[in-house]
Amino acid sequence: MRVIIVGLLATLACCGAELAQAADLQSSLRNEVRLVDRRLPDMPLRLGDGRVVQLSSLWRDTPLLVTFFYQRCTGTCIPSLRLIRDAVQQVGGLGRDYRVLALSFDDVDTVADMRLQADAMELASDPNWFFAVAAGKNVAQITSELDFGYWRDPSTGQYVHESLLVAVDQGRVIRALLGYPIPLSRFRELAWELRGSFVPYYEVPGERLLRCFEFNPRTGGFRPDWGLLLLLAQGVTAIAVALTVFNRPAR
């Protein structure tokens, strides 16, 4: 008996911690959903290799993943870019299913800074990765369209900012991932959608109690989960009750 109580309490404690974390995720999730369907403005971009291209030309052939950064960031920008690079490598499909744009939001960043950044990440020769700067008013427009907030702290010269990755299809946001670090499994789900397969069901962070189905972002498979058994419970109970109640000599 005591073992059971201790076990229950331990489970509750774990649940509590997880719930607190889940609450954060839930609110960022709500903010992500808000971004879906927003349209991005077109604008000229100056790429690290010196070319000037229209933003719309980058999403013409494949969907485009867009993220914001600035080169001097000592916080999450660079680790976040690395994370995206590694996830892309693991999940695959770059060039065929999507391409990636890292757009600077700091007006002191230059084309040379972009080239440096691409070199540092060993992506300079990758035709599907773009590091770009744009005119200040255009940056202001696209970041406000995506509710991406950043604020410069004058004492350090660093920006306080969020981490955002949006998937854009023909100029329209189809998915957004907010926060750092991005879990690999969520990135995988995103990759499935970019590949054109609709993901009808995936785990909402914190809602792991008894689900009906499970989507496996590694394989793209879709399989029943334990919650479905609950739907059999009522039938089984009813049969059991009927058999029990009637299990006596008639008359």
């Binding site: 889940a22 909402v204 109690l209 008894l210 609950l230 039938g235 009750v241 009927a242 109640v245 008639a250």
Partner: protein, 474 residues
């Protein structure tokens, strides 16, 4: 003269009080949709919730009371449990009233997750609402199991389900009432268990912040709601099988076909609820097809067998028509007409257009209001008349029936027209794009008021008999 049962008389009393009040709420909703009473708009959704759950509850409890009363000829339900059923139902209603009137709880009658936790009403009113359903559910679960127990004292499971008819034997004779009630009660246990699970998960959310899977909750909730409403109707039919023969002067017996159709119902209708999830793209496609097929198989055989049986019973019989037998007969007709409307809507191709339009309230009001409620009130009148044998005034009674028919079907017709004109359900006020919905609503309110007049006159007639019967019984 046949002395009325005290419990039944209490149930009749409760129904006579609650039913007209809930009808008034229905008229109120149509009036607001017509654009009148703008100051009370914020009450639309709490009242819709009260009307919906109240009506479903009254229908279930009243039809159960009818079945229990009719079954007393064959079996003996426990007296204590009968009192518990009354007390528990009254307690549940009180909790519901508090939640809706003081807390303005307004998530609709089937409290679809996670709306109850996300509305702009206080959390305590959600708790109060969930508690109301818990009390009602627990009470009705005990009631159902006790009825099964009482049936089991006289019949074995295979007899009660008429399996010997399927095997070609005709002995022992089992009345259709027993067969259909047994089917309904087993389904009732299943649906109340689903309700209990959905409630437990809802409580876990309100009180513990534990989120649940919305798809799972929707499956559980609609299993509960669909089965509860359907089995109430089956109970209404069961007593019709028992009482109508008394007026026709011929027996209406179980046979192989009756047994077969109701066993089919038991097996299949638990899967029919999937028709409520046609729009849920996450639900695997095969389940959607199961939903459509099960909807057809669970309704058509039983309906055909019952209607054919009823017509054969009445055809060329020396039928004694009075308020009771007329109500039972037109109740059967209403059940069939509404069933037709429901069948149309359970067809996936049509559902794509009609989902969540007023077509849905149109068809379920047809079989609940002009079907089940007439069966139940017909049976209640039958009891009170049998207990008092007051002289009846046929021409006056025909007028009552006329009012009920014209008012009831007029109101329903407005629902159907609105549905066909793509007016969505659950809109308190129609925006400009749906302005044509308001006219239907206004006419609907007028017809419903006519129905209410008929109902009140009818209740005066039955009330006189009820008071006499009550004096004798208590």
């Amino acid at each position: 003269m046949r002395k009325a049962n005290t419990h039944t008389l209490y149930w009749i009393g409760i129904t006579l009080v609650l039913f007209p009040i809930l009808v008034v709420l229905g008229i109120y909703m149509r009036t607001v949709q017509f654009g009148q009473l703008p100051a009370t708009q914020s009450w639309f959704y709490p009242m819709m919730t009260l009307h919906g759950l109240g009506m479903v509850g009254v229908c279930y409890a009243a039809s159960m009371a009818c079945a229990v009363d009719a079954l007393r000829r064959y079996i003996e339900p426990s007296g204590a449990i009968s009192w518990l059923a009354l007390a528990g139902t009254v307690a549940g209603v009180v909790l519901l009233l508090v939640s809706v009137f003081l807390g303005k709880f307004a998530a609709g009658w089937y409290f679809l997750y996670p709306l109850p936790m996300r509305g702009n009403w206080p959390a305590w009113s959600t708790v109060m609402f969930l508690s109301a359903i818990t009390v009602l559910g627990a009470t009705w679960l005990i009631w159902s199991v006790d009825m099964l127990r009482a049936i089991a004292r006289r019949y074995s499971l295979s007899e009660a389900l008429g399996w010997h008819y399927l095997a070609g034997r005709t002995e022992p004779e089992v009345p259709p009432l027993v067969l259909i009630t047994t089917v309904s009660l087993i389904a009732c246990v299943a649906c109340l268990v689903a309700g209990v699970i959905a409630l437990a998960l809802s409580f876990a959310d309100v009180l513990g912040g534990v989120r649940s899977d919305a798809l799972l909750m929707k499956n559980l909730t609609f299993f509960f709601g669909h089965v509860l409403v359907n089995l109430s109707m089956y109970l209404g039919l069961a007593v019709t099988y028992e009482v109508l023969p008394e007026y026709a002067g011929r027996p209406w017996k179980a046979n192989k076909i009756v047994a077969l159709s109701w066993n089919t119902v038991l097996v299949v209708f638990l899967a029919a609820y999937f028709h409520h999830l046609y729009m849920d793209f996450v639900q695997p496609v095969v389940v959607q097809y199961i939903g459509q097929v099960a909807s057809y198989i669970s309704s058509i055989p039983a309906a055909v067998v019952t209607l054919f049986g009823a017509l054969m019973l009445v055809y060329r019989s020396k039928m004694r028509w009075n308020l009771a037998s007329i109500l039972l007969f037109v109740g059967l007709a209403g059940w069939a007409i509404g069933g037709g409307g429901a069948g149309i809507d359970s067809t996936i191709l049509v559902n794509m257009k009609f989902h969540n339009t007023l077509w849905v309230p149109a068809h379920f009001h047809t079989y609940m209001l002009m079907g089940l409620m007439l069966l139940v009130t017909g049976y209640f009148y039958h009891c009170c008349q049998a207990a008092t044998e007051l002289p009846e005034k046929p021409s006056f009674h025909n007028l009552v029936i006329l009012l009920l028919m014209v008012g009831g079907y007029g109101m329903l017709f407005m629902f159907y027209l609105s549905g066909a004109a793509s007016i969505p359900r659950r809109f308190a006020v129609y925006p400009a794009e749906l302005a044509h919905g308001a006219g239907y609503a206004g006419l609907g309110a007028l017809f419903a008021a006519l129905f209410l007049v008929g109902l009140i006159v009818f209740f005066v007639e039955i009330g006189k008999r009820w008071i006499r019967a009550f004096r004798v019984a208590v």
